[in-house]
């Protein structure tokens, strides 16, 4: 049967994404397997007897060959069973689920503010190219991306939380809080994340649109008497979507997988902190599960960027 070429391309991308995820799972498992140190030893402590250690290893299945352990693990993951944490014996899927929800909550609000703001500032910078608004936007966003995020975090805590007392400095949330209370709690971390990701997206938007503005069809629009903002919105932006979506997705991925530092600064109960805790305790199943989820988020978002790029191309959407 003849498939629409766009559907075929998207199906290819999805298949490639799955393959990539599978490869990532292999890497994660191999990486955690060759880590130095002995889980049994770290659970039982230095004073454990050799018999106790051997028992523990058998119990944890550490004596099985790596391939057997990998497929046992992968089979569990595919059925939604991420295993149990070695350190406290709790179900990983359960404790990770809550953490993931918190991380996504923070990432969502940071994205909801930073993405429209970055694109708007990018358009504004193009409209006033090489004049003071463009230079001001560039200077401010470059400054915020150059300062380490923990530094921005502490500066904002000092002014907003301590001096002006507008929002709390610690972003602890739980399920019993209302949406308003939660938003109040994460206000400062959202600001920090926004400042960190803004510059990259804004500058890419600016560059992508300026690139399109060199095209002959922009001159055609100018010679129709259209105003600058209308030209940017109607003729330039639709042709600049693909590169913009790409950089937006990269930054969204960062908001999910790269916010460990911000979570630590604000004591936010997200995935990053959870992962760091368990790495230091050598809790391998938790590290594997977190790694796999991060990989899935990263691959998934980039897949979305690819698909949007395909859909944004009129030549692929409307073949001859």
């Amino acid at each position: 049967m003849l498939m629409h070429p766009v559907l075929k391309l998207i199906a290819q991308r999805l298949a490639l994404g799955l393959l990539l995820l599978f490869a990532a799972s292999v890497l994660i498992f191999a990486g955690t397997s060759i880590l130095p140190g002995d889980v049994a030893q770290s659970i039982l402590g230095q004073s454990a007897t050799p018999e106790a250690l051997a028992n523990m290893r058998r119990e944890l299945g550490l004596n099985d060959p790596a391939l057997t352990r990998y497929f046992a693990w992968l089979g569990g993951v595919l059925q939604g069973d991420l295993g149990t944490a070695l350190t406290n014996g709790r179900d990983i899927a359960e404790s990770l689920g809550g953490r993931l929800k918190n991380t996504l909550f923070l990432a969502f609000w940071a994205a909801a503010i930073s993405v429209p703001l970055a694109i708007f500032l990018g358009l504004l910078a193009v409209r006033y190219k090489d004049r003071w608004p463009d230079k001001l936007i560039s200077a401010v966003t470059l400054t915020t991306i150059s300062i380490p995020e923990f530094m921005i975090g502490y500066v904002l805590i000092y002014w907003i939380a301590i001096k002006w007392r507008l929002f709390p400095s610690v972003a602890i949330i739980n399920d019993s809080m209302s949406l308003g209370e939660k938003l109040n709690a994460i206000a400062i971390p959202v600001m920090v994340l926004t400042l960190v990701v803004l510059a990259h997206m804004m500058r890419m938007t600016r560059a992508a649109i300026l690139n399109v503005m060199q095209s002959a069809y922009i001159e055609t629009a100018e010679l129709k008497g259209l105003g600058m903002l209308k030209i940017i919105r109607k003729h330039a932006f639709p042709n600049a979507i693909a590169p913009i979506v790409n950089v937006v997705m990269l930054n969204l991925a960062y908001l999910v997988v790269g916010v460990v530092v911000v979570e630590v600064v604000f004591a936010y109960p997200g995935m990053g902190q959870y992962l760091v805790d368990h790495v230091s305790k050598r809790d391998v199943p938790v590290v594997q599960a977190s790694g796999l989820i991060f990989a899935a988020v990263y691959i998934g978002l980039n897949l979305v960027a690819d698909i949007v790029s395909i859909l944004a191309n009129p030549r692929l959407r409307h073949p001859k």
Binding site: T220, L223, G225, H318, K320
Partner: protein
């Protein structure tokens, strides 16, 4: 007498140039030009590149492309000096009173929007028509311009129609808001010759039907003779001559105009084929990897020593692919090539160095074929070192000889490509090819990017060098006038096949096959009324069938 629609007085236009490694300098592009254009008339602006044609055309919309700026003079449109107006009122002029048709419709249409939306955009935005009125008008224009399926073609995207169709859509775009004046900027230059004639006829009919005035910009005098009432000849930003089309074509006064009218007056007697060809192409079939479509189908041609085979055809006919196969860049899927009595290896990498030396290439874009950071001496000297191991004085002497042969004097050795004109760059490329002492030079559209007079000079040089060096040319071109000027034998290509092949006199004399007939009769002649005659002739022929 009523006020003309467009009145230009003392127009001066300048720009800022950025020469490499030097401070920016202000240059003058147009030095004081005056002309009038009455409502409903067509004025042709003609000249070579750099004459300021497009710049003058765009000044009717008070628009400067890139860093171009109108520095003085007056441009009156409908009784207002538009150079004194601010951007806000200029935006009501552009797209409403004056509209523009560019050379490349393919680049001038937004790829992400439907044709209809773009054609009607200005008319709706300028409040000339409501959306439904504008769309009705667009369909009417599509019909007038002879586009297929005029009711629905607007729903397509630009990439879904052909180049010639898109150029007509661009004309519809310009005519849709009912302007008083349309600036046509080389609207048929980028088209194949068989497409050009139809688009030209469509534009001419649309101008007549709507009664719009037009500035028609082109470098091709034969084309402008078909559409305009008056012609202004420009050279380096100055007016050389102005007159009725009849006077300019049939009784030019100025030397420069005479040269333009009589361009391509090269006479070349065809030579008789020798017994042994220097290159024999037998049954060549080729396709690009990963495709199932044969770009070349069973090609058979010969090139004789010291003679020229012209390969002519439209874009996509396989001309350049044939060159790629002969040079070994694209190994053929079938057939063989014999060069100077020995069989050539299919792939470039497996050919001995002498095979490479004896076959050289010259390209269309001399600009991109040279390293911009090397001097002319280094560029020409490279094949001397590489093939002959020349060094020091011997090399210098040979470089000087080659420069003399291409008629560039002393002092060119130390220049960089950016410091040369288009024609000079192509000459350097010719010298580089000659330096290898080849038996065959493949010339791929070498004069297509050049102005007619400069191209003429290059062709004369190539013919002259052929006499001295006894080198054979495989000359790829889409331009039949060039073919007539230099070929000894001709191969006409169409969709990957050679449809007609033989000596020049055989190929160019009747009876013709259908395609060669179409190709030959589509070349504009420097004769008023040629367009109507040809179109009428074709109508009668098709009615007769």
């Amino acid at each position: 007498m009523t006020e003309p629609l467009l009145k230009v007085r003392g127009l001066k236009i300048g720009a800022i140039a950025y020469p490499p490694g030097e401070r920016p300098v202000a240059i003058k592009i147009v030095h004081g030009v005056d002309f009038d254009l009455e409502a409903g008339k067509v004025l042709g602006l003609i000249g070579e590149s750099g004459a300021g044609k497009s710049t003058i055309g765009l000044s009717a919309m008070a628009y400067g492309r890139g860093g171009v700026e109108i520095t003085g003079g007056e441009v009156w449109v409908n009784g207002r000096d538009i150079l004194k107006e601010n951007l806000r009122s200029l935006r009501r002029l552009r797209g409403a009173e004056v509209t523009y048709v560019s050379q490349s419709a393919a680049a001038s249409f937004n790829p992400a929007k439907k044709i209809m939306d773009q054609v009607t955009e200005a008319a709706i935005y300028q409040n000339k028509f409501s959306k439904s009125e504008a769309e009705e008008r667009a369909v009417e224009l599509f019909r007038k311009l002879g586009l297929p399926d005029p009711e629905n073609i607007g729903n397509r995207y630009p990439h879904q129609v052909s180049g010639g169709q898109l150029q007509r859509c661009m004309t519809a775009l310009a005519l849709c808001p009912e302007p008083d004046l349309v600036v046509f900027d080389e609207p048929t230059t980028a088209l194949d010759v068989t497409t050009q004639i139809d688009v030209l006829a469509a534009i001419k009919e649309a101008i007549a039907a709507t009664g719009v005035a037009a500035l028609y910009i082109t470098h091709d005098l034969a084309v402008v003779a078909q559409v305009s009432d008056h012609i202004m000849v420009l050279q380096q930003g100055k007016m050389v001559e102005y007159g009725t089309t009849d006077q300019i074509i049939n009784a030019p006064q100025e030397e420069y105009t005479k040269a333009l009218v009589s361009v391509r007056s090269i006479r070349h007697e065809e030579k008789t084929p020798t017994d042994t060809p220097v290159l024999r192409v037998e049954n060549i079939t080729a396709r690009y990897s990963g495709t199932t479509f044969d770009v070349l189908k069973k090609i058979n041609v010969d090139i004789h020593p010291g003679q020229t085979l012209a390969v002519v055809g439209e874009s996509g006919s396989g001309k350049s692919t044939l060159a790629r196969v002969i040079t070994g860049l694209l190994p053929p899927s079938d057939g063989q090539i014999t060069f100077d009595g020995r069989q050539l290896a299919p792939a470039l990498a497996s050919r001995p160095i002498d095979d490479l030396r004896e076959m050289q290439m010259i390209y269309q874009m001399a600009d991109t074929a040279m390293n911009p950071r090397q001097t002319v001496g280094t560029i020409i000297g490279r094949p001397l070192e590489f093939y002959f191991g020349l060094k020091g004085k011997a090399k210098q002497k040979r470089i000087q000889e080659l420069l003399d042969e291409i008629e560039l004097g002393d002092g060119f050795q130390d220049r960089y490509p950016a410091e040369l004109s288009g024609g000079q760059k192509q000459r350097v490329c010719i010298a580089r090819a000659l330096a290898a002492k080849p038996k065959l030079i493949i010339c791929d559209e070498v004069t297509s990017a050049l102005d007619p007079l400069v191209a003429d000079g290059i062709l004369k040089l190539l013919l002259n060098l052929q006499k001295i060096e006894d080198v054979a040319y495989l000359f790829i071109t889409h331009d039949l006038a060039t073919v007539k000027a230099i070929a000894d034998s001709i191969a006409v290509m169409y969709q990957g096949e050679v449809v007609r092949y033989g000596s020049k006199s055989q190929v160019l004399s009747p009876p013709f096959d259908d395609y060669t007939d179409l190709l030959l009769s589509s070349v504009p002649e420097m004769k008023i009324g040629w367009l109507e005659e040809t179109i009428e002739h074709r109508r009668m022929e098709s009615a007769g069938n």
